[in-house]
Amino acid sequence: MLTIKVLGSGCANCKRVEQIAHKVITDIGIEAEVIKVTDYAEIMAYNIMSTPGLVVNEKVVSTGRIPTPAEVTSWLTNALETA
């Protein structure tokens, strides 16, 4: 099972990243947990400088932009293979 974290304190773009993550999980039919991280101390532990950030199994895959569903799909399938 994958752990996906969306880093960002509730901005509009963070919500869209979260939506995309949920959509991709349903579309490719995998088990994954999506956690919203809103605490700045916790966010900054990932050493990112712009939100929203996306973390898959503790690895930062994207920051400061809204990734496309296709990109998220490839990150999730990659993480599944290496897990």
Partner: protein, 349 residues
Amino acid sequence: MTTLTTNSNAHSTKQIAFVIFLSAVLWLAAYNLIQPLANWLTYGLLGFANDSRFGESLAFFFYDVPKIILLLSGMIFLITILRSFFSPEQTRAWLGGKREGLGNLLAASLGVVTPFCSCSAVPLFIGFVESGIPLGVTFSFLIAAPMINEIALVMQFGLFGWKVAGLYMLSGITIAIIAGIVIGRMKLENQVEDFVWQIKANQTQGVTYKPTWAERFSNAWQSTKEIVGKVWLYVIIGIAVGAGIHGYVPESALVEIMGKNAWWSVPAAVVLGVPLYSNAAGVMPIAGALIEKGAALGTVLAFMMAVVGLSLAEMIILRRVLKPKLIAIFIATLTIGIIITGYLFNIIL
């Protein structure tokens, strides 16, 4: 509710180049047709007399609205492509190890081109100070980034020409440099919330996003749609009010209250500007009409800087990492800088 953006990687670069070329041609054609169309619409189709006040206001409105919307669309598209070559991480790397002066200059200039959203101000602030960039240099960035933004610059360029837009940009950078140096000299590190200094980034891996040209274009297209979609209504309202002033307020009516000799008008303009933050796009056309009726340029520049650069929303966001005293010093330094700039231009111009 929200439609997800679809992947545009499927398009070939050739197709995209063709679409861009076609859009550029159409854009130029449209831009050159605005003036004759506005005149035809007002004096031809609607049949207003050439010297009627309402007709004059209407022609002004029909000319300015499409012109500003077209300029915003085209320029924001180009600026977003330019910005796709910069990132906060890269900017932090460039600012690393720079001292007072050069560091402030570099930070203020990079603040203009680095993609910035006030919603990311906190991680950016922490990321800067965490890596050892001095507080004053960080503030130079945080002042320049919102104040010199694409909407403000494009609207000034469209409404007042490149001289005023350039003046605004240069004074904005100067204020950011000097205010940053002043704040840096005050040694206020203890006024940053303590948790900031305790954060230890537990991984140094960063993601570098190198978009392809196709992605740059599609991202630029997305953000152009988003930004123009957000401001077009304010632009129309602002130009409507400006057109009304243009047609109905007598020449030099404002010399008494907003002219060079009304010394109190500069601080008053700054105070008035603060609550208008979210309406920057609507305020610029009104500012243009005020200049035309005798308001002093320095006063209007100070007004625009206060509207765009003194954002209470951003202060509230930064309160998460700055103690109240530092927030107060930040606001005070910026306000004084803007007021001095206003007076300076009223004296020399």
